[in-house]
């Protein structure tokens, strides 16, 4: 047991979950057809705000992380006002620039401790280990307190990830989700079908930033240590790869992508210096074979049908049009008399 549950494995699982959340933050904005590269920027805002609130203001971790997400979303509102009017590559470049600006600001601020970064951030696992002692769970099921702390952290992270996935799935099958899809497919036609394109693009951008901010806050309180280079350009590309690799049209794509791409470097560790070559080659092959990523909408449809979870939506009998026909007939008749 203790072999499977060693801290190294458990930490990889934690990173996978955080990566999945980050991937979904990009996926969410991408579902309106907006390619943003600001995820690392919003993640760092969430991470620094959250860490400073627990370190300096000694707020409880969940509240600090939540506020971090809110601040990231507020920053997104300010950034989004000009940038969500941009399209395609222009938006990508503008948000990439934003990420760099944020990084340089954190690098030069006194309160963020510059290039040294923030250390000694209270860890979620540590807090939970204290609870384990308090509730006398040390040694329960032959698992020591420290491992319990890690396991409980993973459970909490999984719950958060599940909520984020549920959020995406439910939004997708709703009025808002259809507006997103319409904008992604053809924003001009969407606008002429009565959809406020600017509003919905902004909405997706801000919600994506909120998710990234939460991801950043979780990251800070799991690694205990953050510095500006954690959120550099390299990080953006890494996060962007999760939805692109796993499939950028379905939320499960980001989850699968982050799972594979978090695990792969660890599995390939024995290759030492050749690791990046294999990693890069895999990406090239995948993009050549499946340019839409591993999971596509068609594939997910098939999986859902196999599992028998996709029921045909119930269509009730309504009489709106018939009534309207009758009403107009009556109205024009009385007009003639």
């Amino acid at each position: 047991m203790s072999e499977i549950l060693n801290p190294y494995y458990l930490q990889i699982v934690m990173f996978f979950i955080i990566n999945a959340i980050m991937g979904i933050s990009i996926f969410f904005t991408l579902s309106t057809g907006q390619l943003t590269l600001g995820a690392a920027g919003f993640m760092s805002v969430g991470a620094y705000v959250g860490a400073l609130l627990t370190l300096k203001a000694e707020l409880p971790i969940p509240i600090a992380i939540f506020i971090g997400g809110i601040v990231a979303a507020l920053v997104a509102v300010v950034i989004g006002l000009p940038t969500t009017r941009l399209k395609g590559l222009y938006l990508a470049i503008a948000t990439l620039g934003f990420g760099e600006v944020v990084r340089v600001i954190f690098l030069n601020l006194e309160v963020t401790n510059g290039a040294l970064g923030l250390s000694g951030i209270p860890a979620i696992a540590q807090e939970l280990t204290n609870y384990v002692y308090e509730f006398d769970m040390d040694g329960l099921l032959d698992i020591d307190a420290l491992t319990w702390g890690n396991l409980l952290t993973i459970i909490i992270l999984l719950v958060i990830l599940a909520l984020v996935i549920l959020f995406c799935l439910r939004i997708h099958n709703s009025r808002v989700g259809r507006a997103f899809q319409a904008i992604k497919a053809d924003d001009h036609a969407a606008e002429l079908m009565g959809i406020n394109v600017v509003y919905y693009k902004m909405l997706a951008f801000v919600i994506g930033a909120f998710i990234a901010g939460i991801g950043g806050g979780l990251y800070a309180h799991i690694t205990n240590f953050i510095n500006p280079t954690d959120f550099s350009y390299h990080k953006v590309v890494q996060i962007l790869l999760f939805p692109v690799f796993g499939g950028s049209n379905v939320v499960w794509g980001s989850v699968l992508g982050s799972f594979i791409l978090t695990l792969l470097p660890e599995v390939l560790r024995f290759l030492a210096d050749y690791r990046d070559i294999i990693y890069g080659a895999l990406l090239v092959i995948l993009m050549a074979v499946r340019p839409d990523g591993i999971l596509t909408e068609d594939l997910m449809d098939k999986i859902y049908r196999k599992l028998g979870v996709k029921k045909k939506a119930y269509i009730p009998e309504t009489q709106v049009l018939t009534e309207r026909f009758e009403a107009y007939k009556a109205q024009s008749k009385s007009g003639q008399e």
Binding site: R175, V176, R178, H188, L192, I315, T318, S332
Partner: protein, 252 residues
């Protein structure tokens, strides 16, 4: 009178697409706009729906000034349209496409969708029922679960009309609805336009199929080089010397 264009002009750079166009569309009629290619017909639709601002002149819809209003707001006001080149949303089923059209007549947001509130579920269900009614109206009820862009061409055109009708308009603008259709498809379309009129919806239609236009339209306006050259009943238009000249050239 539902729609009034008053001396509307539009130029792109130095090119005048429309000059001094004036006409009125009455409540409940089918009004046709015809003219040779490049006469400015689609530009006219783009001005009415707020895609471009007018250069000069005024457009009044149902007593409200449309000039300077954003496209999605004109839809809320009651103006719907279809497109000359079909613009359906990829990856959506026919039913979802029509549901998207109902966007501006419904109100559930992010939080109510996430929590699946009772109100949101009731609204979704009712919308599906109404969307299905619209599919039946255009004869696509069998294709409700088909992917919109995989439908045959004629059905895609009718699906676009269903999507536009789902915005619950007072006025629908049809941009070449019969383009590329065969005779039997055109006949189905003719009947559909009759049904739309029976719903009390005013129709403005651009079309090159003259037999169809003379059959369905109460009145027509003819554009040529951005100017209105004639307006009247199909009978009057057919005998108008300027119209004959625009289409067939001048007799030597």
């Amino acid at each position: 009178m539902l729609l009034q264009l008053d001396d509307v002009s539009k130029s792109f750079g130095g090119v005048a697409a429309l000059t001094g166009v004036t006409f009125q569309v009455n409540q409940g009629e089918v009004f046709g706009v015809i003219g040779p290619n490049g006469a400015g017909k689609t530009t006219l639709f783009n001005l009415i729906t707020g895609v471009f601002p007018v250069s000069t002149g005024n457009i009044v819809f149902d007593g409200m000034n449309v000039v300077g209003i954003k496209p999605h707001r004109t839809v809320e006001m009651g103006i719907a349209r279809t497109f000359q080149n079909i613009r359906l949303f990829g990856n959506m089923t026919a039913l979802e496409t029509v549901l998207t059209g109902m966007h501006c007549r419904t109100g559930s947001g992010v939080l109510s969708s996430f929590f699946r509130t009772k109100r949101q579920r009731v609204e979704e269900e009712r919308c599906r029922g109404i969307a299905y009614e619209f599919l039946k109206l255009v004869g696509l009820e069998e294709d409700a679960e088909e992917v919109a862009t995989s439908l045959p061409y004629g059905k895609q055109r009718r699906l676009e009309i269903a999507r536009a009708l789902a915005t619950h308009p007072q006025l629908i603008l049809l941009d070449e609805p019969a383009a590329g259709m065969n005779d039997s498809e055109t006949e189905v379309l003719r009947q559909l336009i009759g049904k739309i009129r029976d719903l009390g919806i005013t129709v403005v239609v651009i079309e090159h199929d003259m037999a169809l236009m003379m059959n369905i339209c109460d009145r027509l306006a003819v554009l040529n080089f951005g100017k209105k050259i004639a307006e009247g009943t199909p009978q009057e238009i057919q005998n108008h010397p300027d119209v004959i000249e625009a289409y067939l050239g001048k007799e030597e």
